[in-house]
């Protein structure tokens, strides 16, 4: 059942997603799987009696946070678990009725090669860097079908590349993975996955490493690939938006067990497990009014500490204090179209946010400016050759004006490589800007030196993306938080006092101040980093993707904390993120960056409601909404974020713009920011964007 001709997979336009029946034998059945690891602290059960099955043509999403066992389940089932400390794998994993775990390794490999394909998170490392991309796919084909001649293999590969939307397949065939962008690599991986028409397709966080606009393209492609091959698809993800967009059924995992499974409409509409409901309530989302998030308290479970009761009980708003939840582990029992493992399954729906929540008021914009940036530019020379001569320049930031008022939050949004981090780092002079000016409290940061610079640096602090690397691992968390004070020359006892106060404020226990960062979870470490940033009493804190490394359930805690701290201290935030939902939750004003320049900026509410720049519009369209009832058929942005070294004339966004691709004005003149509909937009045809 190949797609007619050699045309690429086309989106079946406007086809509603029917609730399909999936009769017959499941293509993949995992039955009572248990996986244990031996660790110095004892045996850890990473997967605890997990059972699920997927029929042909069906997509099952397995959702869970870090350590929930969602990936390990599949890896163990396929016999791919290679960690040296695997202690026990038991249960059954049937593909086409045959138990993989019972097969000898050799036969299992044959079986896997024929029936199962995997797509991993990082497409770059899934491809062999020293082999031509086309040959890698051909190899997959020929390993399966020895009779295939080199010529027919090549023809088939070209056909596959066309199908997955790789342009110019004849040229691309002979290129190497490093010549491909991340999105293109993932397309190649998908081509390889569907090459042998697998009956089971496993996608493990297939879009987590990609930009939003590319994610949308890849999700679309995955859907088409699954439909075209008719494979049973297991989609492993932490992103509920992706689940709602892609899956027929979902299984929610927590602490190595499935706590709830049901068709997606039921999962999102009437969640029965408190964890599922709490997760949904803690998501910042675009389709609901902004307000305080309902965070799940506490930390994701530590698998080494197994309790007799429900693993979620310590964090559960319903069963937290109930004796049966603390002492008796609930079993997964059928209920309401699915199955749920909870003693009080009926009550979970009450945890969902009620529509009509009071939106929090945006802060007034007329406060005096803390930071004013004018004409900021940062150009990186690209040196090549023996003499390291500058052969090109990358204009990472190209003429940016910004203003952040006291106590307000500016959200800076853009995809990777748009220059948002470079801009943020220039603001504390981690990078020396090439041109422009930065004023902090009216003083010129770029001219300041010595004592003055040190004073200004105290006024602007930064919180980094990865809490696992932004704290000095050899200093106690207290000393980490006290670093800016030490550098400012504050005496030790006073530092200590300030830090302990701050720990209280950010929700850490002061008596833990002498522990090393390694003893803390990601969310807690990010709290330490926040305490560190607030220690010198700054006027502005820059957050560079502060929650993107955190688990969903912890994100909401941190976002709420940041709002509270701002209300309390009146500090201004610059919130840099690729995640538009998170930025909407936090920001009063939003600036959208593309290729080093701001293309649209304005009050958050307005910008999200009625974007006027085609890029903003497309970004908003790209985000999967965690609501299966609004599933859209869409391919918002084509292509990859462009290369910042390429010199462009006219509008930067032209090459990907649905409006201006063929218009002369867009090619001739670079659009300046101009006021449209109450905000600033750099588009010649802003009025046409609906």
């Amino acid at each position: 059942m190949r797609v007619a001709g050699s045309g690429r997979l086309r989106p079946a336009t406007a086809e509603p997603h029917p609730v399909e029946e999936h009769p017959g034998e499941p293509a993949l059945r995992i039955d009572d799987l248990v996986v244990e690891f031996a660790t110095p602290a004892g045996t850890v059960r990473a997967v605890d009696h997990v059972t699920y099955q997927v029929a042909r043509g069906e997509t099952l999403a397995v959702v869970g946070e870090t350590g929930s066992g969602k990936s390990v389940t599949v890896l163990a089932a396929l016999g791919l678990l290679s960690a040296g400390n695997v202690h026990r794998v038991s249960g059954r994993a049937e593909v086409g009725g045959q138990d993989l775990l019972a097969l000898p390794a050799r036969e299992r490999r044959t079986r896997l090669g024929a029936d199962v394909a995997m797509i991993f998170q990082d497409p770059m490392s899934a491809l062999d860097p020293v082999q031509r991309v086309g040959d890698q796919i051909a190899e997959a084909l020929r390993a399966h079908d020895r009779a295939l001649t080199a010529r027919t293999a090549r023809a088939r590969v070209l056909e596959l590349l066309t199908q997955v939307g790789v342009p110019q397949p004849e040229i691309r065939y002979d290129q190497y993975p490093h010549q491909f962008s991340g999105g293109m690599c993932q397309r190649v991986v998908i081509a390889m996955a569907i090459a042998n028409r697998p009956t089971v397709l496993i996608a493990d966080e297939p879009t987590t490493a990609l930009d939003v606009s590319v994610q949308a393209q890849i999700l679309e492609l995955l859907r088409l690939a699954a439909r075209e091959t008719g494979a049973a698809t297991v989609l492993i993800t932490h992103d509920l938006g992706v689940v709602a967009e892609m899956a027929d059924r979902a299984a929610v995992m927590y602490a190595g067990r499935i706590v709830e499974t049901a068709p997606v409409a039921r999962i999102f509409g009437r969640p029965q497990h408190p964890y599922t409901a709490s997760l949904l309530a803690s998501l910042p989302r675009l389709d609901q009014p902004r307000g305080r998030l309902r965070a799940i308290p506490g930390q994701p479970p530590d698998l080494r500490e197994r309790s007799a009761g429900c693993a979620f009980a310590p964090r559960c708003p319903i069963g937290g204090d109930l004796p049966e939840c603390r002492t008796e582990r609930p079993l997964l029992v059928p209920r309401d179209d699915g199955a749920v493992a909870c003693h009080h399954a009926g009550q979970a729906v009450t945890l969902l946010p009620q529509p009509g929540a009071r939106p929090s008021a945006a802060r007034p914009d007329d406060a005096p400016a803390v930071v004013e940036v004018a004409g900021l530019a940062k150009v990186f020379p690209i040196r090549r050759g023996l003499l390291a001569r500058t052969v090109a320049t990358a204009r990472a930031v190209d003429g940016v004006d910004l203003r952040i008022g006291q106590g307000s939050t500016l959200g800076l949004v853009g995809e990777s490589g748009c220059g948002k981090s470079t801009l943020a780092r220039s603001l504390i002079r981690l990078l020396e800007p090439t041109a422009g000016s930065i004023r902090i409290d009216g003083a010129d940061l770029l001219r300041a030196n010595g004592r003055q610079l040190r004073r200004l640096r105290q006024r602007v602090q930064m919180v980094y993306q990865d809490p696992y690397s932004s704290l000095n691992p050899r200093l106690s968390v207290g000393d980490n938080a006290a670093e800016p004070l030490r550098l400012a020359g504050v005496p030790r006892t006073e530092r200590r006092r300030t830090v302990l106060e701050l720990f209280e404020k950010v929700g850490l226990r002061p008596e833990h101040a002498d522990r090393l960062p390694a003893e803390f979870s990601g969310g807690q470490r990010q709290r330490v980093a926040i305490a560190r940033a607030l220690a010198p009493g700054p006027a502005l804190v820059i957050f560079d993707e502060p929650v993107s490394a955190l688990d969903v359930s912890v994100q909401a805690q941190v976002l709420n904390l940041l709002r509270d701290l701002q209300d309390e201290t009146g500090v201004a935030y610059l919130f840099v993120s690729h995640d538009l939902s998170v930025v909407r939750q936090m920001a009063d004003t939003v600036a959208v960056m593309y290729l080093g320049a701001i293309v649209e900026t304005g009050a958050a509410g307005q910008l999200y409601r009625r974007p006027r720049h085609p890029y903003t519009r497309a970004l908003l369209d790209s985000i999967p909404v965690p609501d299966p009832s609004v599933r859209r058929s869409r391919v918002p942005l084509t292509g990859d974020p462009p290369d910042p070294t390429a010199a462009t004339t006219g509008c930067r966004f032209r090459s990907r713009c649905p409006l201006g691709r063929d218009r002369a004005a867009c090619a001739d003149r670079t659009p300046e920011l101009r006021q449209v509909d109450g905000r600033w937009t750099a588009c010649h045809f802003a009025e046409e964007v609906a």
Binding site: G67, R425, S470, N472, P473, L475
Partner: protein
């Protein structure tokens, strides 16, 4: 698999000192090495209490065989071999540790500065290190002792200088690997001066690998010291040293085997113990897994 490695990281981190020890203890030979080294250090420190005779005290006869009063016999000048060997641990250990420390004291800052600042600082200091590396250790030490004479301090200087490259390279590589980590960037962002970032933030995070290198270098230095002593460039007589004793015993191997064999055995055991301790530290610090064999450290 990220989930697993992260869980493992958390496990590892639980309680600093205790996990360090439990990881170290995963290699049984490392534990044996540590105990052995401890015994040797105790011998060196408490030599006057342990040795039956003074190191230079001469008694009745020379080249006596093992007996009740002289367990290992006496040497050509009638000195008790056991006592000299116990005192000899002092020379080996002080020169070994001293030169390793000296090498680290110069090499580590050099490597950190080179790695952190990069550019011409890196080029210049690493060419200097290459230069040192191009000359064989023993030859370099030979030249230095030949020029400034043989004494314990001079030995430490000679071997220590030869040990600089190892430390400089190690520190530079480690600095390069953490230079762009967020916490180092954060330190700069908070307005820390460059020396502050280099010698507080960066250096603090190099202590693990440096510690390992210290032990390995010390064990090599013990061997070099013995070698130089055999060549007559070691600690000057009559102070006992194992290398010196080997040299003295050269002519009497048939008459009195214990004279030469015992100091050699001491040397071998010391170096073995140090090597095993280094191996254990590598595991504890996380450079190596318990199963792997130590790679040659030279």
């Amino acid at each position: 698999m990220t989930t697993l490695s992260m869980a493992a990281e958390r496990v590892r981190a639980r309680s600093g000192a205790r996990t360090f020890l439990s990881r170290y203890a995963r290699s049984r030979s490392a534990v044996v090495g540590a105990i052995g080294l401890l015994v040797i250090v105790v011998c060196a420190v408490a030599a006057p209490l342990l040795a039956p005779y003074g190191p230079t005290a001469q008694s009745a006869g020379s080249l006596l065989g093992p007996s009740g009063s002289h367990w290992l016999g006496t040497d050509d000048l009638g000195r008790d071999i056991l006592s000299r060997a116990i005192y000899g641990a002092r020379a080996s250990l002080t020169v070994g540790c001293g030169s390793a420390a000296l090498g680290a004291l110069i090499g580590v800052p050099l490597g950190v500065v080179a790695g952190y600042l990069g550019r011409w600082t890196d080029s210049v200091s690493m060419r200097f290190v290459d230069l040192l590396l191009a000359v064989p250790t023993v030859l370099l030490a030979l030249v230095i002792t030949a020029v400034i004479g043989a004494s314990r301090i001079n030995l430490i200087v000679a071997i220590g200088v030869a040990a600089i490259p190892q430390f400089a390279r190690l520190a530079r590589a480690a600095t390069l690997s953490i230079r762009d980590r967020d916490f180092v960037v954060a330190s700069r962002g908070m307005g820390a001066t460059t020396p502050d970032t280099m010698f507080r933030t960066v250096l603090l995070n190099l202590l693990g690998p440096i510690m390992v290198q210290l032990v390995i270098t010390a064990s090599l230095a013990v061997v070099v010291e013995a070698g130089l002593s055999v060549l007559g460039l070691g600690v000057p007589p009559p102070t006992p040293s194992w290398g010196g004793m080997l040299q003295e015993a050269r002519g009497y191997l048939y008459q009195s085997p214990t004279f030469g064999v015992f100091p050699g055995l001491c040397l071998a055991i010391t170096v073995f113990c140090m090597d095993r301790v280094g191996h254990g530290l590598r595991i504890a610090v996380g450079v190596e897994s318990a199963g792997a064999t130590t790679r040659a450290a030279i």
